[in-house]
């Protein structure tokens, strides 16, 4: 196979892996920009993945599954808001609690309802999101480079991949060009300023966390009803944390965060391709080392190459009116 084709296929895999990361990172952006640490992205995604697969299986509709995933993720986000905003709880503890509860609850419910060892039954046909072929994709496939790229890389994904791609400019627009975005950015920097400007801090943070829940719900649903074809125990496998790392690496800004997600996804796609391949000089590397590559890269990037990542100033601190 030609190198160009290998590259296109690698990028194609990158997009598939990046989709949930991008959606979850955008979700985390709204939460963290509003001043609430969201380490619970992982749990929300996992909960959404389970709900989406379960609803899709029972109703036979991937779209209803998506709605179910979003609903569960938003409910978990609401729980996070209730703990952290209404009751000024510790945001990391609340997030971790959500992760742990969901990790335990999902296989338990799956076992109770479907009796398939903590999984949901396999989804087929309309139960899951199928690939879309964009117009003219097949017609232009034979045109070198451009046509091939269009047919292989741009076309042929499921709808959620395109939604993730659209989410980045939409989130950027909301954050920087709308009243809601201005207020979210302000409340994460200085909630006192927001309060004295006559805006209710808690309402604003609840709204931001609902957006987080919504986007995270799509990310989770993608895993079980579009990328995969069933819910499997712990199927998020750290993607929520990876999205959070990408958010920090991207300095809480939409476009750099997207690129961070693509980079992480690329290393993941690369490791899949490198498995068992004889590399020059070193030979075949044991698969475990290759699989560790994205995580090693994450640690290295976060440790040294981020530059000065300045988080929203008020992040992690509950807003309590002082006397």
């Amino acid at each position: 196979m030609e190198y160009f084709e290998i590259f296109v296929l690698l990028m194609d895999a990158t997009l598939r892996v990046a989709t949930p990361l991008v959606l979850a990172a955008m979700a985390g952006m709204f939460s963290e920009r509003s001043g609430i640490v969201d380490i619970g992205l992982e749990g929300k995604m996992l909960g959404a993945a389970f709900a989406a697969a379960a609803v899709a299986y029972v109703t036979g509709s991937a779209w209803l599954g998506l709605l179910g995933g979003i609903a569960v993720s938003m409910a978990l986000s609401g729980l996070h808001a209730y703990a952290c905003v209404t009751h000024n709880g510790n945001q990391v503890v609340s997030g971790m609690a959500i992760n742990i509860v969901v990790a335990g609850l999902t296989p338990t419910l799956a076992f109770a309802w479907f009796r398939q060892g903590g999984q949901t039954p396999a989804l087929t046909g309309d139960d899951r999101f199928s690939s879309l072929t964009l117009p003219f994709a097949e017609a232009v496939r034979d045109i070198p480079v451009i046509g091939y790229t269009y047919a292989e890389l741009i076309s042929g994904h499921n709808i959620l991949v395109y939604i993730a791609a659209a989410a980045v400019p939409i989130c950027a627009y909301i954050l920087y060009r709308t009243r809601f975005g201005l207020r979210v950015r302000a409340v994460g920097e200085n909630p006192h300023a927001v309060d004295t400007a006559g805006i209710v801090v808690s309402h604003l943070r609840y709204q931001a966390l609902m957006v987080t829940g919504f986007l995270c719900g799509i990310a989770g649903s993608y895993l079980s009803t579009a990328h995969g074809a069933a819910f499997i125990r712990d199927m998020t496998a750290g993607k929520g944390y990876l999205a959070l790392a990408a958010l920090i690496f991207g300095k809480w800004r939409p476009v750099p965060t997207m690129f961070a997600c693509l980079l992480f996804a690329f290393t993941d796609a690369l490791q899949a391709r490198l498995q068992g391949v004889d590399l020059p000089l070193v030979g075949a590397i044991p698969v475990q080392f290759i699989q560790a590559l994205p995580y090693v890269l994450t640690v290295l990037l976060l440790a040294g190459f981020v530059g000065k990542a300045i988080p929203p100033k008020a992040i992690g601190e509950p807003y309590i009116k002082e006397r």
Partner: protein
């Protein structure tokens, strides 16, 4: 200028925080187009009262009338709608936003920002001209000096249509020149028919700018007077409830040998920013050296280096003729053992452990002395006995050594720290912000104690952002700006204008 009804009227306002009666039956009437001062000590209830007017808290009883009609103000939005604007002591600005974004926050106009921003830009150009408040609206707030940030706050209030402007301790962070500029702005506002309420504990400001003044003491309104009919002494007496000495009475200093000095000291912080630049200082026995300057110009780093909690990046620290910069003794604990007392600038962060009782706090830093220990354990009864002595000598109230430090008022907390450091009879005493958040009565006492120590031949360094305090307490004054000593002068030659210019970084030819 007053018309039939006052711009703002309060009738019998009461507010409790738990058992604390923060505002007792407060009545107040502020005439339209006047500057009205509200003065009182820390904790007298001024800020609480204004927070009620601004809708931050709700009064438990009482009425608020704006232009003669009663208003229900239960959140800041209602207050803004009633035409009240507030400039808070700690600015309510988002540092990463531009001036324009800060001003429209909360009054954006529509869901999309673009329209609101353009409207605000035009409106601000008009306001800036009308009140001569020049500000670059596209500048990022975090890059602006504090004086300008305050203007942004004023513009923010005016943009919301404020007719009554409340300023809470507005000059705390300003140099005297910046404060004068602020007063000119306030005068312009008054000429344009706006009503200004100025909350402060500085008598100088009240006399300089207000038309009328109301005095608060312990949650009560004790007097309403026209400024022209009163003077500083009378106001101070009303604030404290007894006559007080505003200026420290002291004889000329008798400076003796140098106890501690800094030679070419530089300090770079963790980010590599230069915080101290070539500092040379001599602290002499029998003399009080005052360090003046707007806060954040290197005073904290200077104190920490002298106290042994930071090491200079370059230069020497000489203690009693010996270069101790690289000695193993150069740390807070060992310096205390060889006669250095340190009253930190921020008593809540580094002076006290607020959740510890008074008697535990009064041995901090000296806890390994044999008199406080009994074998391997601390000797509680001896600690309590020592604390009781301190409490009596320094007139700390309440007189309970087992009360938690957080249960004392600011002045009494400061007395506890001072007692701890002074009673160890140090040869040199470093005092940061000796009277920050301390009421006037206690200020008098603390100043007297420091003078007594000086007269006993001890070396004293006082760092303070209160220019009046440095002028009245110190014998020699060094002014810091941007990490450097701008100049040093004899306290007798110091005037507010001279110091003010130096605090703003203007070098004057006066070297001691």
């Amino acid at each position: 200028m007053t018309t039939s009804s006052p711009a703002l009227e309060l009738r019998r306002v009461n507010k409790w925080f738990g058992a604390v009666h923060a505002n007792k039956d407060i009545s107040l009437s502020v005439g339209r187009g006047t500057i009205h001062g509200i003065i009182g000590e820390n904790g007298a209830g001024k800020s609480t009262l204004m927070s009620i007017v601004y809708g931050f808290y709700q009064a438990d009883e009482g009425e608020i009338l704006v232009n003669g009609s009663p208003y229900q103000i239960d959140n800041p939005q209602a207050s803004i709608a009633a035409g009240i604007g507030m400039v808070h002591q700690h600015f309510m600005l988002v540092d990463t936003f531009t001036v324009l974004e800060n001003i429209i926050l909360g009054v954006e106009g529509s869901a999309r920002l673009a329209g609101g921003l353009e409207h605000a830009r035009a409106e601000l150009a008009r306001l800036e001209k009308e009140y001569s408040l020049e500000v670059d609206v596209d500048a990022v707030v975090g890059d602006l000096p504090v004086g300008i940030r305050q203007r942004v706050e004023i513009l923010k209030a005016l943009y919301r249509g404020a007719e009554i402007l409340i300023l809470d301790e507005p000059t705390g962070v300003l140099t005297p020149q910046e404060a004068d500029h602020l007063f000119r702005i306030l005068n312009t506002l008054r000429e344009q028919g706006k009503t200004v309420i100025l909350i402060t504990h500085k008598l100088r400001e009240i006399m300089a700018i207000t038309d009328n003044v109301s005095v608060m003491r312990r949650g009560e309104m004790v007097a309403h007077v026209a400024t022209k009919d009163t003077d500083r002494e009378k106001l101070a007496e009303l604030m404290v409830g007894r006559s007080v000495l505003l200026r420290v009475e002291k004889d000329d200093a008798q400076p003796a040998e140098t106890v501690m000095s800094m030679r070419h000291v530089r300090y770079l912080d963790r980010d590599g920013v230069s915080r101290l630049k070539d500092i040379n200082l001599d602290i002499k026995a029998g003399e009080i050296l005052g360090i003046a300057g707007v806060s954040g110009n290197g005073q904290s780093e200077l104190m920490e280096i002298l106290g042994g909690t930071l090491r200079p990046s370059e230069g020497q620290i000489i203690y009693k003729g010996e270069d101790i910069t690289n000695s193993a003794n150069f740390n807070a604990r060992d310096l205390r053992k060889i006669g250095l007392g340190h009253v930190p600038e921020d008593r809540h962060r580094s002076g006290l452990v607020l959740s510890f009782s008074a008697y535990e706090n009064t041995i901090l830093g000296y806890h390994d002395r044999p008199e406080y220990n009994k074998g391997t354990t601390l000797d509680n009864s001896s600690m309590i006995a020592h604390c009781e002595k301190h409490i009596e000598k320094f007139d700390v109230r309440p007189t309970d050594p087992t009360l938690k430090a957080s249960g004392f008022s600011g002045g009494n907390q400061q007395k506890l720290v001072l007692a701890r450091e002074m009673e160890q009879d140090p040869d040199i005493l470093l005092v940061g912000q000796p009277t920050r958040g301390v009421d006037i009565g206690a200020i008098e006492f603390i100043h007297q104690q420091l003078i007594q120590m000086r007269d006993a031949g001890k070396a004293i360094l006082v760092v303070s952002v209160e220019i009046d305090e440095v002028m009245s307490l110190a014998d020699r004054i060094a002014v810091m700006f941007d990490g450097a000593i701008v100049g040093e002068l004899d306290a007798k030659d110091a005037t507010e204008t001279k110091l003010g210019l130096m605090m703003a970084g203007v070098k004057e030819g006066v070297e001691a």
